[in-house]
């Protein structure tokens, strides 16, 4: 959903009293709005009684949090770690990059696709692995990935 201050304020107030609540609060902000908007940083800073710089520092440390706007409609996370490399993940990544005309972290101009690297999904005995819109896939090859993307 698009950012709205009341919803953000409600989320912040639920976590502000929780010890170490900033990370779960950031997760819920991102789940709700699809990213961590600038205005949410302000709300978090107020709620947690820290500076905005501090909140930004935390949010930007973690790869998961999107500070530059929401992802595309569909998010493909391709595993780049060693066990998947051993079964051809690099070539598969090159194939997907060419197909979607994207580099790591990029989103297509039509806002349809985002391609992200992931370093291991714990599916290392059946790689190459990927997560598409939160669902896991294993033993991928170019055809299987093309079919997933076309679906």
């Amino acid at each position: 959903m698009v950012f709205d201050a009341d919803t953000a304020g409600e989320i912040v107030s639920r976590y502000a009293g929780v010890p170490g609540g900033l990370l779960p609060a950031l997760h819920e902000i991102q789940e709700t709005f699809g990213h961590v908007p600038r205005a949410a940083l302000t709300a978090l800073a107020r709620g947690f009684n820290v500076t905005e710089a501090e909140v930004y520092g935390v949010a930007s440390f973690y790869h998961d949090f999107r500070l530059d706007g929401p992802a595309g409609k569909r998010v493909l996370k391709l595993c780049r770690a060693e066990a998947c490399q051993a079964v051809g993940a690099d070539a598969l990544a090159a194939h997907v990059k060419a197909k979607l005309k994207l580099d790591w972290g990029g989103t297509t101009a039509d806002g349809e696709w985002t391609l992200e690297p992931v370093f291991c999904l714990g599916l290392c005995a059946c790689g190459p692995s990927a997560m598409l819109d939160g669902r896991v896939h294993a033993m991928l090859d170019e055809d299987a990935l093309d079919a997933l993307i076309a679906r």
């Binding site: 170490g20 900033l22 060693e82 992931v118 290392c124 005995a125 059946c126 692995s129």
Partner: protein, 483 residues
């Protein structure tokens, strides 16, 4: 009524288990029989997933790897994918399953009897500490620190609040044992944490799970809310590898950037929110119930040297029989890779195996006689880490793997110490120059020098251990660097 088990484990799901479940439900409806489908964890024979088990008059019968289209043949009794009683399968029979005894069999949503926790309460805290110490259990997250000593340290500390923290960040490529256990037997982990709480006087627990594990997060949240005996909160990471380092993990739990803390103070003295804290890996906590039930002496009778008990070895990468194999320490690397793993899935010859995650060394087949044992691996400039073995075939470019080790370190460095933050970036450049043939001799010397600096000057083992993959690649596969 037909009773069947089918894993809901993420690997099984990634290989199509949910579609098999749907096909089975539809077939049952079409054929008009009642189906009791229990979604279990995985038995760990990943190459046979999705693996279905059906109860018959003569015991359980397994089938796999199944596609939805195989279901009718299974029900008609004519499936070529029949595997018989899976417990008789040599791959399972050769194992010693203590941590994974129930995984793949029980319904992970049902609270088990918790007999070890009851036993702990009967024994008393001091006797539990004694038993865990005598078992010889060492931390399974990588560093291999004796669990009993850590617990004793926290028990001896006096504080108004102590914490039990479970490290479920499992960032190492080639490892998935924590994930499998949390998905397949979450209550075993919670029971181990509750025992740790009882033994040390800690009343609150946290499980820090990486965000890449949505299935495990769901299973643990459900289990924690159904667990009556210990207050446990499930926290989710946010894609940072270094947050698996224990002090970075504590920072992250406190809602800050995951930057490593200087030690001392140790977490047992000053850990989460400044309070005494036991932080252990998933497998460390999950080993404890079996220790209390079977006794420290039995546990210590398994294994070799100072590596006692069992380790769930994880076989990954280009492997034919990939999965989780829990066994006493002491099998050789070659036995694990060739006999149990069955060599490569691709059929190509093995060139290298990386043991212990991204910070672990690459071993050539000439070192396959190394026993799976903390000290034996250390003696060969390697480490066991979290027990993952990643197999690479003859197409691997070891200079590229060395470069990747630096690149990964550069991406994941918390930035607190200079050797790791800057050294990893310089490492990528130096490897690139060597591969391009620029001043090779000089740059090779520089690479070794850089590794020395990283090893001795880094604040934690992220920068400190990146020389393991780099130097092992260089020492055993030097031909890939100079062509």
């Amino acid at each position: 009524m037909m009773r069947v088990r089918l894993p809901k484990d993420a690997a099984a799901v990634a290989l199509g288990a949910d579609a098999v479940a749907d096909a089975l439900t539809r077939a049952a409806a079409a054929r008009g029989f009642a189906l009791e489908l229990v979604r279990t964890g995985s038995r760990g024979l990943v190459w046979l997933e999705p693996l279905l088990e059906i109860e018959t008059d003569t015991g359980w019968r397994a089938f796999g790897p199944l596609a939805p289209g195989d279901v009718d043949a299974v029900l008609d009794g004519v499936s070529p994918k029949a595997l018989g009683d899976i417990e008789e399968h040599p791959w399972l029979k050769r194992q010693t399953r203590l941590i994974f005894a129930r995984c793949g069999i029980v319904d992970p949503t049902v609270v088990p009897p918790l007999t070890a926790l009851k036993r702990a309460r009967e024994m008393g805290a001091a006797a539990v500490l004694e038993e865990v110490t005598r078992s010889g259990l060492r931390g399974r997250g990588g560093a291999g620190f004796p669990a009993g000593i850590k617990w004793k340290g926290a028990a001896d500390a006096s504080a108004r609040q102590k914490y039990i923290v479970c490290n479920a960040d499992e960032g190492d490529s080639g490892t998935f044992a924590d994930r499998m256990l949390m998905e397949g037997d979450p209550f075993l982990l919670l029971e181990g944490m509750a025992i740790a709480g009882f033994a040390t006087g800690a009343t609150k627990g946290y499980v820090y799970i990486r965000s890449e594990y949505p299935h495990a997060i769901e299973a643990m949240k459900r289990a924690a809310s159904a667990f009556p005996d210990f207050d446990v909160e499930i926290r989710v990471g946010a894609g940072s590898y270094v947050c698996g380092e224990e002090t970075a993990l504590l920072e992250s739990l406190e809602g800050r950037r995951g930057q490593v803390r200087a030690k001392p103070p140790l977490p047992v003295h000053k850990g989460l929110f400044g309070q005494p804290t036991v932080i252990n890996n998933v497998l460390t906590f999950a080993s404890v119930p079996a220790i209390l039930e079977k006794g420290a002496a039995y546990y210590a009778s398994l294994g070799t040297g100072r590596s006692r008990g069992t380790m769930p070895v994880q076989l990954a990468g280009d492997v034919k029989h990939g999965g989780l194999f829990e066994t006493a320490f002491g099998l050789t690397l070659g036995e694990l890779v060739n006999d149990i793993g069955g060599g490569t899935r691709s059929g190509r010859p093995i060139r290298a195996v990386q043991v212990g995650g991204p910070l672990g060394a690459y071993f050539p087949p000439s070192l396959f006689d190394t026993p799976f044992d903390y000290e034996a691996f250390a003696a060969r400039d390697g480490l066991l880490g979290h027990g993952g073995i990643v197999i690479f075939n003859d197409r691997v470019d070891m200079a590229a793997q060395a470069r990747f080790a630096f690149e990964f370190c550069r991406i994941e460095s918390c930035g607190k110490c200079t050797p790791c933050r800057i050294g990893s970036a310089r490492g990528v450049e130096v490897v690139d120059r060597i591969v391009r043939g620029q001043n090779v001799g000089q740059n090779l010397a520089l690479l070794r020098d850089l590794c020395d600096t990283l090893k001795s000057g880094s604040l934690c083992a992220l920068g400190g251990f990146v020389p393991y993959p780099v130097l092992s690649a260089l020492n055993h596969f030097g031909e890939d660097f100079v062509r």
